[in-house]
């Protein structure tokens, strides 16, 4: 069964007052992760396939072609895992 660990290399809080969270996808799975996310989330803005402004269930986040995403105003790790699972797995 596919799990978040199959897609996610690591999750790290950013250094700064913003308290954002950066999710880095595994190199070999990043294209698949990006494709899955773009299928489920609503696209607000896009620049040359490098940076995507997206929303999902009221959460806004940015996705990068290099295989990273910045999530904002996430309550806690459980909330983030739930969102990532919905975006990547289901």
């Amino acid at each position: 069964m596919t799990t978040l660990d199959d897609y996610v290399a690591h999750i790290e809080g950013t250094c700064g007052a913003e308290k954002d969270v950066i999710v880095t996808f595994k190199y070999e799975k990043k294209q698949e992760a990006i494709a899955n996310i773009l299928k489920k989330a609503t696209l607000k803005n896009n620049l040359s396939g490098i940076i995507y402004e997206l929303t999902f269930e009221g959460n806004s986040f940015r996705l990068y072609g290099s295989g990273k995403a910045i999530f904002r105003s996430i309550k806690n790790r459980q909330e983030l895992d739930r969102i990532l699972s919905a975006l990547l797995l289901s």
């Binding site: 250094c15 700064g16 007052a17 620049l47 040359s48 940076i51 990068y64 290099s66 990273k68 910045i70």
Partner: protein, 412 residues
């Protein structure tokens, strides 16, 4: 004539691509890349000379000791120390500052005493003093910083008084690149009877340094920010002070004798001389040897040339950013006479991490966040900042590419 293209040939990593683009490394204030000569020195040590230093009588140990103590001599000359005993090898700037805080601070600072720091300090020059102030009971005063990131010298003078026993300030801000007049600060500090430590993490790699001329009591710096390996750095301390200080870590190398007294059923100890008194345990020998190679590399380039080249590159970058990027804001002073090769900036509507991730897509490495200097971000009223920082292998062509990518990002 300083030629960055010739310099670049010595750095194997600069030939690689990141995310399909040639690597542009603008995160030099965090750590620098290593030239072949430094990498070879470390490999050569392990392949041909590896043994523990001091005390052993065998040939290999003597070779290792000669290389290690030779490295101390090289580092000592690089910063203009009068005596090689004034150079203590540490893991880096952080450990060097902690050494002074615990060894000198804990034994000399008491309730009623004051230590003066500034709001532009890296956390490594704040936290050790805050920790030991809770143990020893002394106070800490923070010197203000102007909105442009320069030190408020009038505020500094007002905060140093008869209770001040110690001043610890950075030479160059790791966020703004502002260069503090540490010679002036040291003079004022000494006139008031206090001692001064300079955090040289961002100055020793980029400026000509002469501790004798600056007349500072301690200078801390890191090898990895000046082309050397990680895990090695140094503390310079005036010999007369080091001789009076107690060790802060115990173990091998730092003792003269450990004798068991059967009557008291305890061991008596006597300390080695400086610098070994402060180097408990087996040191990072290969790291020190490779650091010396990095020093020799910089000496060959010439520190004045290094400084002037970075200054030119910073001025060029700031001027291109100002003229080409409409949504970009440069933080801190842009007066070239007050700063060296660090550019803090932001892009309207994007967080510093967005900026860093966008540039990363194009193989351009910059830093984002607080850069371990949260109080200065409070002064600047910023959530975080993006930071480009240059070194000897960066070029105008790289700056042009950086500006082009930022211009593209502004369309988002």
């Amino acid at each position: 004539m300083f030629d960055p293209h010739k310099v670049r040939e010595d750095f194997p990593i600069l030939k690689r691509k990141v995310n399909g683009h040639p690597l542009i490394y603008f995160d030099n204030a965090a750590s620098t890349q290593k030239p072949r000569q430094v990498i070879d020195a470390e490999v050569n040590f392990y392949q041909n000379h590896n043994a523990n230093v001091h005390r052993a009588v065998h040939s290999l140990s003597q070779e290792a000791t000669e290389l290690f103590e030779g490295a101390r001599k090289t580092v000592s000359a690089f910063i203009g120390a009068k005596d090689t005993a004034e150079i203590i090898f540490t893991r880096g700037t952080t450990e060097a500052i902690n050494l002074v805080a615990y060894s000198w601070g804990l034994r000399n600072l008491n309730a009623g005493d004051e230590v003066v720091l500034s709001l532009m300090e890296h956390h490594s020059n704040i936290v050790p003093w805050e920790i030991i102030s809770k143990i020893a009971g002394f106070s800490i005063k923070y010197c203000n910083v102007h909105p442009d990131g320069t030190l408020d010298y009038a505020d500094f003078e007002s905060k140093i008084n008869k209770h001040t026993k110690f001043v610890s300030l950075s030479h160059v801000s790791n966020v703004s690149g502002v260069v503090n007049d540490v010679k002036r600060i040291a003079k004022i500090t000494h006139e008031r009877g206090a001692l001064m430590l300079v955090d040289g993490a961002q100055s020793v790699p980029h400026l000509p340094i002469d501790v004798t001329d600056l007349d500072v009591d301690f200078l801390a710096f890191s090898g990895h920010k000046m082309l050397g390996p990680t895990g090695i750095g140094a503390l310079y301390g005036k010999k007369s002070l080091l001789e009076t200080m107690e060790p802060w870590q115990g173990g091998g190398e730092m003792i003269k004798e450990v004798t068991y007294n059967a009557k008291s059923e305890r061991c008596g100890t006597s300390w080695n001389d400086p610098p070994w008194k402060f180097e408990a345990g087996t040191p990072n020998i290969a790291g020190a040897v490779a650091l010396a190679e990095a020093v020799k590399y910089l000496q060959k380039l010439g520190m004045l040339e290094v400084f002037l080249y970075e200054k030119m590159l910073t001025e060029y970058a700031e001027s291109r950013l100002r003229s080409c990027c409409t949504k970009l804001e440069l933080y801190g002073t842009t007066d070239p006479s007050l700063k060296c090769g660090i550019i803090p900036f932001g892009v309207a509507g994007l967080s510093s991490h967005d900026v860093a991730l966008f540039l990363d897509n194009y193989g351009i490495m910059i830093r984002s966040g607080f850069h371990c200097a949260q109080p200065l971000h409070q002064v600047f009223k910023l959530q975080s900042s993006a930071r480009a920082s240059f070194y000897v292998y960066n070029t105008e062509a790289e700056v042009d590419r950086f500006v082009d990518v930022l211009k593209e990002m502004e369309q988002f």
